[in-house]
Symmetry: C2
Subunit: 334 residues, 2 copies
C-alpha cells in the first residue's frame, strides 16, 4: 500500500510504499465520527504486450482534490500522485492479469486522522492507496440489469455534496438498494423532485438512447452536472466518444434534465432504444427495465438480448483505449 | 472504553470494558470508504451529593438506533445499552467533577468494520463508547454568538438523512463553518430553499422568541421535524418545558417552518425578543445577531447583555434536572 501522511503544520510527509497493513487509530479519530473521508476508484490495465496503463488518471486526481477540499481535507499535487500511483502499479504489476476484462482496481483514499471530538477541520490526514486484482464484471458476458426507481429517498440535492466522491454519499444509499434487491431488482434508480428527474443508478451514471418525438433523431442523453450528479470518468468518456463517433452518424448528444415520465413515454411509443449505466467497475451496464409507480418501463432490449448496440460499442471503444489496443491520449502507459 | 462487536452471523458479542486503546483496522474497512458510522452525544452529571446521572438516555438510544438502521448497521437493545453506559459511567465516576457545568461527555459510536470495497450492508460492526471530562461551555458565563446565514450550501433536504446523527452529516458542514468564521461569525445558520427557511445553527437546533405580529402574543418557535432537522434531545426538552412552564404564562409554543425574511421583519419591528441554539454541549447558546444578505439581524439582546430571559430560564431548568436539583423523570440516577 502507498501511504502519505499530512499534518496542518508540516504539510505532506514523505510517501511510503509498505506491505499491506492495518491502520492503528485512536477511537476519537475524526474519520470515525464525522466522515472525513473521500476516495477514488480507478484501474491499472495490462495488455498482451505486458504494458501497464492507467485510464484518464488526471480526471480522478481532479475529482479527488475537489472532494477533499469540500470536506476541509488537503489537496495533493495531481501530477505527483499520478506518478506515485504509476510507480505503485508498476511495483504491483504481477497482480495485474494480462487479459481483457481483468485489471488492478486502485483505491486512493483520504481520511481525517485528528484525534478530536470537536467538529472542525482535521489537523492531520492520511492519504493511502490500496489495490486488488479484479476480473470481468460480467464473467459470462453482459447481463442486463433491472432497476427500481426510488422516490421515497433522495441521494443528493442542489447545494449538497452529491457530485463528490465522499464517503458521506454512500452509507445512506444502502437501504434503498436493499429495498430494491428485496423486490428482485439489481439496483435502484434515483429520481429527484416532483418532476421525477432521472439522476443516476445506484452507484453509476445513467444514459438513455431515445428517438426524439418531434425530429425522429436518435438522441443519447444523460443528466447534466448540476451538483447532484457524480462526475463519472466513464460518463465523461461516453459523452466525448459519442460526440466524436456517434454525432457523425446522425446522433444527437444531450446533457440535460429528463424525467421518468418522459422516459416512460418514450418506451410506450417505442422510442426508447436502449439504456445503460456507466462506472469504473463495469464500464457500461445495460439496463433491461425500470420498475416505476407499479409499472415496468422496458428499455428497448429484446427478451434474449443482454446489451444494446450503443452500449456494446461504447464498451468496446473504452476498453480498446483502456488496454491500449487503440492509442489514445486518455491512456497513460506506466 | 466500552466495546461491543457485532457480526451478521453471530449478532452482538459480549460487551467489554477495557483500557482506552487504538482500533486496528484493515485499510479496506468500510467505515473509511462509505461512512458507515453514526454516533450520539450525551453526558453523565455528578452533583454535590455525589450522585451520577444521565439525562434522557432513552432519547439518545432511540436516535442511535434510528441512525444505525438508516445506514444498514445493527440496532442494540436500548435498555441494555443504557445499563452498560450507566455501568461504564459509574466505573469512570472519578472523572466526573462534582460541580455545576462540569460533566463526563459520553460518545457512543457505531462503525461498520467489514473489510470490503464493495458497496453493501456491513457484515460486521463495532459499537464503542468513549468518554472525556468536560467543563462549562462558557467558563466565564454566557457569551452570545453571532451567526452567518448560509444560503450557498445545503445541509439537509427532504428524503435525505439530515435528521440522523450520521458522520455523513458533519464533514460537509466544515467549509461553510470556516467561511462564517473567516468573516468573524461563531457559527453558520443553515437556511433552506428559495423561501430561506431557518433550519438549524451549525451543530445546534435554533429557537426564536418573537411577539406575534397580529395577536401580540409571545411565541417560542423552532423548525418542525420534517426530516431536515436534527432531532435534538435539548430541542425536545425545551419544547416540553416551554409547554409546561411558559404556556401558563401566556406564551405560545410553535413547531413550524419560518423564514429568514420573517425573522428579519420581526427584528425590524422590535418583535424579536431573543434567539438561541440548543445542543448537548452548551445546553442553550444565546444568539446576538445573524448576518444575512449583507445586513445584520439583531436578535433582541442589549449591547451589554449576553443572554435573554427565556434562554437563561431554559438553561437553569434543564441543568437543574440534569444535576438532580429538581427530581424529574428525565434524569436517570446511575
Amino acid at each position: 500500500m502507498l501511504s502519505i501522511e499530512w499534518t496542518a503544520s508540516s504539510g505532506w510527509l514523505a510517501p511510503r510504499i509498505t506491505p499491506y497493513q492495518n491502520l492503528s487509530l485512536d477511537p476519537a479519530t475524526c474519520v470515525f465520527h464525522y466522515a472525513f473521508e473521500c476516495f477514488e476508484g480507478m484501474k491499472a490495465y495490462k495488455n498482451s504486450a505486458g504494458d501497464v496503463r492507467l485510464f484518464r488518471p488526471d480526471k480522478n486526481m481532479a475529482r479527488f482534490n475537489k472532494s477533499s477540499a469540500r470536506i476541509a481535507l488537503p489537496n495533493f499535487a495531481p501530477q505527483s500522485l499520478i506518478e506515485l500511483i504509476s510507480k505503485f502499479s508498476a511495483m504491483e504489476e504481477r497482480f495485474i492479469p494480462a487479459a481483457r476484462g481483468y485489471s488492478l482496481y486502485l483505491r486512493p483514499t483520504m481520511i481525517g486522522t485528528q484525534r478530536t471530538l470537536g467538529v472542525g477541520p482535521p489537523g492531520s490526514a492520511l492519504l493511502f492507496v490500496i489495490a486488488s486484482p479484479v476480473g470481468p464484471y460480467y464473467p459470462t458476458g453482459f447481463k442486463a440489469v433491472s432497476l427500481e426507481a426510488t422516490d421515497y429517498a433522495v441521494r443528493a440535492w442542489p447545494g449538497g455534496v452529491g457530485d463528490m466522491k465522499l464517503g458521506a454519499n454512500y452509507a445512506p444509499c444502502i437501504i434503498p438498494q436493499l429495498q430494491a434487491a428485496k423486490r428482485g431488482y439489481h439496483q435502484n434508480l434515483w429520481l429527484f423532485g416532483d418532476e421525477e428527474y432521472v439522476t443516476e443508478v445506484g452507484t453509476m451514471n445513467f444514459f438513455a438512447a431515445v428517438r426524439d418525438k418531434d425530429t425522429g433523431k436518435k438522441v443519447l442523453m444523460t443528466a447534466p452536472l448540476d451538483g447532484t450528479i457524480l462526475e463519472g470518468v466513464i460518463r465523461d468518456s461516453v459523452l466525448d466518444l459519442a460526440r466524436e463517433r456517434l454525432v457523425p452518424e446522425g446522433w444527437e448528444v444531450q446533457e440535460r434534465k429528463f424525467t421518468m415520465p418522459e422516459l416512460a413515454a418514450a418506451a410506450d411509443d417505442g422510442r426508447l432504444i436502449e439504456a445503460f449505466g456507466t462506472g469504473t467497475a463495469a464500464v457500461v451496464s445495460p439496463v433491461r427495465r425500470i420498475a416505476w409507480r407499479g409499472r415496468t418501463v422496458e428499455c428497448g432490449l429484446a427478451e434474449e438480448q443482454e446489451v444494446g448496440e450503443i452500449t456494446k460499442r461504447m464498451k468496446d471503444w473504452i476498453e480498446g483505449i483502456q488496454y491500449g489496443d487503440e492509442e489514445h491520449v486518455w491512456s497513460l502507459k506506466v
